[in-house]
């Protein structure tokens, strides 16, 4: 039970970080970014390639973070900014197309088989928690996801740029009229959203479709939490993380359905999600 709870925390933390990226990009660019999952996937593969080539896990982590930041900035300039005034269906199709292209690129370079990256030596063992063994690396991911989630929340709440980001995410025009260059804020946010996708890679087995799978749960988090709400996304991610993990163990035949059922139930109860605007 404890292990499942901890595993649920790992998954919930990853979902939250990805969902924050989706919320920010939607708020700032009004783009439903299906490519966000592929950033997560590319980050994992780049980290894998660097780590296996140089034999250094941490180097892989740092390089992939930089690559994703650059990729995020590129996507913002070439895709999100030109698309922000287009019909939503156009942006959905284009970003979904990017997802497919990146998946295919990864499949061409690394193949379609599952890959896995060994954690670094310092995090390779297990620790005993209430008599049960738990991989040290997963505890590290929980701590990292918590640190990123707390850091992101503090940044949004306490910093001047965070204030601009929150304001831009609900009223971009007024924020710009007050003097904020919202395009620069967006570049920063899209880069940060790309970086956030990197945190998770070695926890999961690497496969070209890994981005697509977690993206679906991330969208459910965004909708259940309430479109545009960071605090709503946080609670939704924790709940869906636990439901996902307990579902896989105790109700494997229904595991994939559970997050969708939760979403339907929440939307019937509160059409705007836990804390957001109307969907």
């Amino acid at each position: 039970m404890l292990l499942q709870t901890l595993n649920g925390l790992v998954y919930g933390g990853l979902l939250y970080i990805l969902a924050v990226g989706l919320v920010l990009i939607f708020g700032l660019r009004r783009v439903v970014n299906f490519a966000h999952g592929s950033l997560f996937m590319v980050g994992a593969y780049v980290g894998y390639a660097i780590a296996t080539h140089f034999g250094n896990f941490w180097l892989g982590l740092v390089v992939s973070v930089v690559v994703l930041a650059v990729l995020g900035v590129f996507l913002d300039a070439v895709v999100f900014r030109p698309l922000q005034r287009e019909d939503p269906i156009v942006t959905v199709l284009v970003t979904f197309g990017i997802l497919l292209v990146l998946e295919d690129a990864v499949r061409t370079i690394w193949g379609k088989d599952f890959l896995s990256l060994k954690p670094p030596a310092a995090l390779a063992g297990t620790v005993q928690i209430l008599g049960e063994s738990f991989p040290t690396y997963r505890l590290f991911v929980i701590a990292l996801a918590a640190a990123v989630a707390i850091g992101l929340s503090l940044w949004l709440r306490m910093s001047r740029i965070g204030l601009f980001v929150r304001a831009s995410s609900v009223d971009r025009t007024t924020t710009a009229i007050l003097g904020v260059n919202t395009d620069r804020v967006s570049v920063l946010v899209v880069a940060a959203a790309g970086v956030s996708g990197r945190v998770s890679a070695p926890v999961l087995a690497l496969s070209p479709c890994m981005g697509r799978l977690i993206l679906i749960d991330s969208f459910i988090v965004v909708v259940v939490g309430g479109l545009g709400s960071f605090s709503g996304a946080f609670f939704a991610a924790l709940i869906i993380g636990q439901l996902h993990n307990f579902g896989v163990v105790y109700l494997p035949w229904a595991a994939t359905m559970i997050p969708f059922l939760l979403m339907v139930g929440i939307l019937i109860w509160r059409p705007s999600g836990f804390a957001g605007q109307h969907v």
């Binding site: 001047r160 204030l163 601009f164 929150r166 304001a167 995410s169 609900v170 009223d171 025009t173 007024t174 924020t175 710009a176 009229i177 007050l178 003097g179 904020v180 260059n181 919202t182 545009g228």
Partner: protein, 232 residues
């Protein structure tokens, strides 16, 4: 008196539609100017043009005498022109205090800061940590003005500030605007409420069908002319 905001032969509109036809106007430092006109004559489009919301099709917009080649939304704020938009546009997910701090995104040297705004509008201090949109209409107007002041603007532009406000609140607004003007802030008032205009502005432009049809000193404006330009 140096010019803060200038239009020369401005043609502007939305998409293919032109709303403004050959507008010339100028607002100088410490001036109190009003743009008068009935609904739909293009008053707000004047504001939207220098904010980069409406499309400038021809002519020239100048800030501090400098022609602007590209009008971004943030250009005016960075040139020292702050705008209180029609409808106030309080950011709903920010508190009163955060809305005010957002106004300081572009901060010029000057006397206005959070404490100064709280002294001008004490109710904002009392409700500093509540969401901005939880305030009443009049309080939201105070918040919108306070937010604009946080940038220490040389020119404060107010688009229909009396809209939806009770007469007693409009009276208070007039007192505040006069105080600001006396403190050296230039004012450009886009307004239909002549009572407010008369108490605040010294010069006017009258707009009809996207063109300036009259201009001059308010003191010289006859009642008959006035009725042509605004709802009295």
């Amino acid at each position: 008196m140096s010019e803060l905001l200038g239009f020369r032969a401005v043609e502007a509109g939305y998409g293919e539609a032109r709303v403004l036809h050959g507008i010339d106007l100028a607002v100088g430092e410490n001036e109190r100017v009003a743009i008068l006109g009935r609904n739909g004559v293009g008053k707000s489009t004047v504001v939207n043009t220098f904010l980069g919301v409406a499309r400038l099709r021809a002519g020239e917009v100048r800030f501090r005498g400098a022609p602007q080649r590209s009008l971004q939304h943030f250009t005016a704020a960075r040139a020292g022109v702050a705008v209180v938009l029609q409808g106030r546009h309080i950011i709903p997910n920010l508190t009163v205090r955060e809305n005010l701090l957002l106004g300081a995104a572009v901060r010029r040297p000057g006397a206005w800061n959070l404490e100064g705004v709280f002294e001008l509008f004490p109710v904002l201090r009392e409700r500093a940590d509540t969401p901005g949109t939880a305030l009443s209409g009049g309080q939201q107007q105070m918040l919108a003005i306070g937010r604009a002041l946080m940038a220490n603007p040389a020119l404060l532009v107010l688009d229909e500030p009396s809209e939806g406000l009770a007469p007693v609140i409009v009276d208070e607004l007039a007192v505040v605007l006069r105080r600001l003007a006396d403190g050296g802030t230039g004012l450009l008032l886009i307004e239909q409420n002549f009572g407010l205009v008369r108490r605040v502005a010294e010069r006017y432009y009258a707009l009809s069908k996207g063109q300036i049809v009259d201009q001059g000193r308010l003191a010289d404006l006859s009642l008959a002319k006035l009725k042509e330009h605004v709802a009295v």
